[in-house]
């Protein structure tokens, strides 16, 4: 089920919303949200509900066991066991075929023993939820919850289950504890506001750009230099509006159930450096990688060389997290190198004009998205060569796409991020939100498009 589908908008969500606020107790609300989230998840493929439940139960009980251990060594041992379990599931479902085919390819064999595996949607996200929970319990940042329904609600909450944001238990623990509070007008208004803005970003902007970009990239070999740049810029904005639109909708849905989900985007294309970019783009993932990978690897505590290696490893794995493909690994490595470069020449770049830094950062990010979007290295190389003017082309670019690119270039550089909007909470704003929602719904044009980050 996707947020921008009729079944979600007119059946699933209204039923869950109404039932949620009719119920009074914490326990009943936890149970409702959990059951609803499993229905939401199972609507795609019910067979994987068991996997989600298994992963949740393992981390829930491990959390309790870890909490009871006095000895730090034992705590860490249990933590490691739980993480290995989670990563084994993730590794099998997401990376088995990738690694096996790569290894066989290296060995020169053409017939790798591949399995017919369906990637469970959202597995990358809920695995990170459970890992962060276990690590936080082990490190004493939170106490393990004894309430299994509260925990199941946290892991499976439908607003964030499939494509994030990656929420840590401690970030929403307080709201989960107060889930029995009555609905507040300001919270509901903000929730609707966030959701409507997210819907507009997705169905009006991202999907419109996608309708031009996808056919263009289907025959990337015909792109001219101008076309290659337009396609790269178009995808840059499509990805941003698609994913930030999804995040806004998730945040809005959270608000509608009294749960404040953290910010995931902060005007990333206004970044003045690559580090700054990663403070603004998919914040929940970048901060997760920082706290649960980069810092445990040693962070910047071991000198410049060690720091650069840690950055590279973190970003390589971050790239691989996005998908079982070498192009994602290359994209991660590219950003790791950019981060290392950014650190090394930090003082030198500080003296450069802000606008120049912004432009260079933006260009570097756009080049990275070429790797990210390409389905193979061949495609990436051809596309980059065309951008560099090294390969001719004859394809034409529609003026509508050019217009979208120009408009998005202006809006991403001037308009505030959704998080910075002060959503009106008075009653008259209900009319405004309804009009915007209605307009956005019309733009769906009867289509049901999937969010780009669902594939991860």
């Amino acid at each position: 089920m996707v947020f921008n589908s009729d079944v979600f908008l007119f059946v699933f969500f209204p039923c869950v919303f109404l039932l949620f606020w009719c119920l009074q107790s914490k326990r009943s609300r936890y149970i409702l949200l959990t059951v609803a989230s499993y229905v939401f998840y199972g609507y795609w493929d019910y067979r994987f509900c068991g996997l989600l439940l298994l992963s949740s139960l393992v981390s829930f009980f491990t959390g309790i066991i870890v909490d009871r251990q006095e000895d730090r060594k034992h705590k860490r041992m249990w933590m490691a066991a739980s993480i290995i379990f989670d990563l084994t599931l993730l590794g099998f479902f997401k990376y088995y075929n990738f690694f096996v085919s790569s290894l066989y390819g290296l060995a020169g064999h053409s017939h790798a023993p591949l399995l017919s595996i369906v990637l469970p949607v959202g597995i990358s996200f809920y695995t990170f939820h459970t890992i962060s929970y276990i690590v936080d319990v082990t490190d004493g940042r939170i106490r393990a919850t004894k309430n299994i329904w509260e925990y199941l609600t946290y892991v499976s909450l439908f607003s964030q289950l499939v494509a994030g944001p990656i929420v840590r238990f401690r970030q929403i623990e307080q709201d989960l504890e107060q889930i029995d509070h009555p609905p507040r007008q300001d919270q509901v208004a903000r929730g609707i506001g966030f959701f409507v803005v997210g819907l507009i970003k997705k169905v009006i902007i991202a999907d419109s750009i996608a309708s031009w970009i996808d056919p263009l990239l289907a025959s990337y070999g015909a792109l001219t230099t101008f076309g290659a740049w337009t396609a790269a810029l178009g995808y840059t904005f499509q990805l941003y509006y698609d994913f930030s639109g999804y995040s806004d909708m998730a945040i809005g849905l959270g608000h509608l159930f009294g749960i404040r989900i953290p910010q995931n985007f902060a005007a990333p294309y206004q970044a003045e450096g690559i580090r700054d970019f990663w403070r603004r783009w998919h914040i929940s993932l970048s901060s997760w990688l920082r706290d649960y990978l980069y810092i445990p690897l040693g962070g910047n505590r071991g000198g410049a060389a060690r720091t650069h290696i840690n950055l590279l490893v973190t970003m390589l794995l971050g790239g691989l997290w996005h998908g079982a493909s070498w192009t994602f690994v290359a994209w991660g490595a590219y950003h790791g190198l950019l981060l290392a470069f950014d650190r090394t020449f930090e003082r030198m770049t500080a003296s450069v004009s802000k606008w120049f830094r912004r432009a260079i950062t933006f260009l570097a990010v756009v080049v990275g998205w070429v790797l990210f979007r390409s389905t193979s290295f061949t495609m990436a190389i051809v596309w980059l060569k065309k951008m560099a003017g090294l390969e001719p082309g004859s394809g034409e670019i529609s003026w509508q796409l050019i217009l979208w690119v120009v408009v998005c270039l202006i809006t991403t550089n001037t308009l505030p991020e959704t998080w910075d909007i002060r959503f009106g909470t008075r009653r008259r704003w209900a009319v405004v939100y309804a009009l915007c929602f209605f307009g956005a719904y019309l733009f769906m044009n009867g289509r049901k498009t999937v969010f780009l980050y669902y594939q991860f």
Partner: protein
């Protein structure tokens, strides 16, 4: 990563209210309920307004309101109405199927060559599901055609399997194709009603409604229509559709862009759509009829411009498929993708893909009078 601050957590840790007293709780719930009610009421009003506009203007001619011009020429609906009025008594014995490329195949010419009362059932943007669905529908009307002349386009077998949006709007066609015999009639009726209610809630519908109103205000009439036998004519003018002459200097640039979009993403022939055509042939033959299939051409200059695309390969696949139909079912299959195969003219074209009536006449002569 260094430099990555805890911005991610910003905004999540604001002070949460402690449990409110009952009277405050009631007020809070009331205020929220009012807010949500205003939101829903506004949505309801907007939905009613949009639905009323759709019913009143009826830009696709779905509701038969007739107060404003139907701006999207719905050849399927129009021809179904004409068929009911003129082709059941006496019944049509030959049907012409195809896309807009077959609109100018003249039924009277077929009738004079075969002696069979003929109806042109070619419709815009047709795919093979259209042919099978129309055949089922015609049979349901009590008509038993003896001859089907089926014009096959490459894009009519597009691998996207997406039917034309007009096809999807017509329940009679959609249902006649449905092989789904499961589910309760009630469930199907609900699903069908929901689909019908949802249909006007798109921006395209709104745009076309506005267009229809503007056309009515400017008093312009559609420039094309159909004769009683389904042949394309000049609409309100009552004169024959002006025959096409393409300039020798005609630039195929626009045709190229448009046509490339048509087969964009097509990586082969759709097995599902080939299945529809196979079923059509099998059913027609089982009913004692015969089927003639022919592959439609594009203008040679457009074909030349498409040389570096995957279009030539798709044409080859379609040619092979037609050959296979001939072998498997014994149907007469004509590859007329090359103008020379029927002595067609390079000038009698409306655009890069639509031939004029002279060329269309030559096609009929070739497939009804010639040998394969």
């Amino acid at each position: 990563m260094p430099g990555m601050t805890s911005a991610a957590i910003a905004g999540t840790t604001g002070p949460a209210a402690s449990s409110p007293p009952p009277e405050t709780r009631r007020a809070t719930v009331w205020n929220t309920a009012v807010f949500v009610s205003i939101f829903l009421l506004t949505l309801f009003i907007m939905a009613m307004a949009q639905y009323s506009l759709a019913r009143l203007v009826d830009p696709y001619g779905e509701y038969g309101t007739g107060k404003f011009p139907v701006i999207v020429m719905d050849s399927r609906n129009s021809k179904m109405h004409l068929f009911e009025e003129h082709a059941i008594h006496p019944p049509a014995r030959a049907l012409i199927f195809g896309s807009s490329r077959s609109l100018l195949l003249r039924p009277s010419q077929v009738a004079s060559m075969t002696g069979e009362n003929t109806f042109n059932f070619a419709v815009d943007n047709a795919h093979t599901e259209d042919f099978l669905a129309i055949y089922h529908w015609a049979r349901h009307q009590g008509v038993h055609p003896r001859t089907l002349i089926v014009g096959v386009d490459v894009v009519g077998l597009h691998s996207d399997n997406l039917p034309d949006h007009m096809f999807q709007r017509i329940n009679a066609l959609r249902d006649s194709l449905s092989t789904d015999r499961t589910g309760s009639p009630f469930g199907k009726a609900v699903s069908s009603t929901v689909e019908a209610l949802k249909r006007p809630f798109t921006v395209d519908y709104l745009k076309d409604s506005v267009k229809s109103i503007l056309i009515a205000m400017r008093h312009t009439e559609p420039s094309r229509g159909f004769d009683a036998d389904g042949f394309l004519n000049g609409g309100h003018t009552g004169v024959p559709f002006p025959d096409a002459v393409i300039d020798a200097q005609h630039s195929f640039k626009d045709d190229l862009v448009t046509y490339k979009e048509r087969f964009e993403g097509m990586d082969g022939l759709s097995p599902k759509r080939c299945g529809y055509l196979n079923s059509l042939i099998e059913e027609t033959q089982a009913d004692g009829g015969r089927v003639i299939v022919w592959l439609t051409p594009v203008h040679p200059k457009l074909m030349e411009a498409l040389r570096d695309t995957r279009y030539p390969q798709l044409v080859e696949l379609t040619q092979a498929y037609l050959e296979d139909l001939h072998r498997r079912y014994g149907v007469a299959a004509y590859d007329l993708s090359d103008l020379r195969s029927f002595n067609g003219s390079e000038s009698n074209w409306d655009d890069g893909t639509h031939m004029g009536s002279v060329n269309s006449g030559l096609v009929l002569q070739r497939i009804l009078g010639g040998t394969r």
